[in-house]
Symmetry: C2
């Protein structure tokens, strides 16, 4: 193979020096352009853990069309609000919601100070090693469990407790930290949306303070972009220091109809992108995709019993039935975890 | 006066063409530098409506020290949360809260559909042209007024109604639009904070939906950065369209202790800067300035009976008594409207 011929140098000495200066200026220009426009460089695939098929195309096309200035579907940045469910959408939710594992672990830890618990449900069953039975008491049992483990302390104390627990607790099946049980393709989707001017929010049935303990580090979502089920808080001075104390009174159950209510209350603007995985997300998707402009509804279908879990309409945790039936008619994109994802968890890579 | 001598042109024709190219490149470089580094240009005074005295210095020094990388008081951008009361802090609140004027105007507008109101308080007094008397009924009267004018409609309908009212209503004294009754120095402060990486929030006793109708256009504060008193909302399908309907049940009274509660609930992070003007802001300032790191509490004292109003401890609207007494001990900066502000309202300029 022959090299390109070098151009013959011609001209005077002055001209040569001039060219030298010119070349210095040119590198300056190149440097400035690179500094000023890092995004101008052709980006690598922003969704490498998504298989190259119609699902990925639909996501990429939506983001492209709403960010194309002058296009008919263009959305100004302030309207680019994207909301994500957490349990089963950003991280796993099997065998039971991770926040429940935290509550159960806390009951065990607090038991020595509460001798009365060994005769009181739901605590007795938990202490006997049967949390499943404890939860058979339904909502009242759950509320007792939450009141015992999620109230009375300050918000800061609660978050510290959750952070510590997340450092040490391990998932029963994978033996990984719970914050490692997040979906790699969804982390990429969050980043891709943010890189395109979207504000990404969590809108979860889980507790808002529980989520805020890890959302920034794990998902890059700051506390002020987390909406979740909320207990009332009281403002107090403890030893002269102002604190907020978590109370055993519900302010918002951020599930089903509660999701659009939470969005309306906390964000005050209709999202244009919503992602969920269960019937608890139906109303959020419905509200999001009923807007006048372009919108995107994403429903994650857990179909992968090998790498994760396969469940839908018969599952107590994360039941997906009505929303899956409505998806075609509503134009929601159903993500088939087995068919659409190359990788599920980051630790597989 | 003599002009600068033109440099003698020397060199060949080739050299001339080279210089031509060089000058083109130079303008490209200048353009790129200007595009890339608009902030590198020495900024003009960001607070021109503040007099050059100790109050302005204190604000400027706080912003400088928390943004100085490597300095002992440096705060990373995500911690730069600034919260502002609205009534009496960002816009005026005399003779009565502007939102009350809206409610009174709505009662008059709706009266033909409510013949029963002419015998029912607080409506009867309003319709007789005595809103002051109507409000003597205290909180129950106020709640009736709010229920009649702020509930039953969808959130979008309510916001449209407020927007329309703000277009047409005029302040009784200045004859200006209410959105013109904003404080020019505070608009500059909001901008200065944002230019330095702060997220600016409204945290107001006023209604969250009322505020969201104008906060973005008037203050550059988007709906998701507005915290206010909140009525519950219900999710419904009206003619198949999902809507949020405002209900006559209070979710949060965002005043006094309710302000840190609202901050904790909506933002989930302690502010480092808080501005208020009344005892209703005491707890917000207390909570903000009790943080471990650097913080700033600003208390606006209405001392200017000429350009605005002068009031403090004896005022029913915007009473400032306890907070003013605590300011020196707590290290809060008291802004004296008459002494510290060159301009009060934008229309004075």
């Amino acid at each position: 193979m022959r090299g390109f011929p070098l151009r013959k140098v011609r001209g005077t000495g002055v001209l040569m020096r001039m060219r030298y200066k010119l070349s210095g200026l040119l590198s300056l220009v190149v440097t400035l352009v690179l500094v000023a426009c890092p995004v101008a460089v052709k980006a690598a695939d922003p969704l490498p853990s998504w298989k190259d098929n119609g699902t990925k195309d639909a996501i990429m096309e939506f983001v492209a069309k709403v960010t194309r200035e002058g296009g008919k579907d263009y959305l100004p940045p302030e309207q680019r609000i994207a909301t994500f469910d957490n349990d089963g959408t950003l991280w796993a939710e099997k065998p039971i919601y991770f926040q429940l594992v935290y509550a159960v672990d806390k009951v065990r830890e607090m038991a020595p100070e509460h001798p009365e618990w060994k005769d009181q449900e739901p605590f007795a069953s938990i202490l006997k090693g049967d949390p499943q039975k404890a939860l058979e008491g339904g909502k009242p049992a759950l509320m007792k469990l939450m009141a015992a483990t999620h109230t009375g302390m300050t918000g800061e104390e609660f978050r510290s407790s959750v952070s510590e627990w997340l450092e040490t607790a391990r998932h029963p099946k994978t033996k990984k930290r719970y914050t490692e049980m997040v979906y790699q393709p969804m982390l990429e989707l969050l980043r891709h949306l943010r890189a395109n001017g979207f504000k990404t929010y969590i809108v979860s049935g889980g507790g808002i303070d529980f989520l805020r303990a890890f959302s920034e580090e794990t998902y890059g979502i700051p506390p002020e972009q987390v909406v979740g089920s909320t207990l009332k808080a009281g403002y107090e001075l403890r030893d002269g220091t102002p604190v907020l104390v978590k109370q055993a009174e519900v302010a918002l159950i951020d599930d089903k109809e509660g999701k659009p209510v939470g969005i309306y209350q906390y964000i005050g603007r209709r999202p244009v992108f919503a992602a969920g995985n269960s019937d608890g997300d139906l109303q959020m998707l419905e509200y999001t995709t009923a807007g006048a402009g372009p919108s995107f509804g994403l429903l994650l279908h857990h179909t992968d019993s090998g790498r994760e879990w396969a469940y839908d309409r018969h599952s107590a945790v994360g039941r997906l039935d009505k929303a899956l039936k409505q998806a075609p008619e509503k134009g929601w994109t159903v993500v088939d975890m087995q068919d659409d994802w190359r990788v599920v968890f980051p630790f597989e890579k």
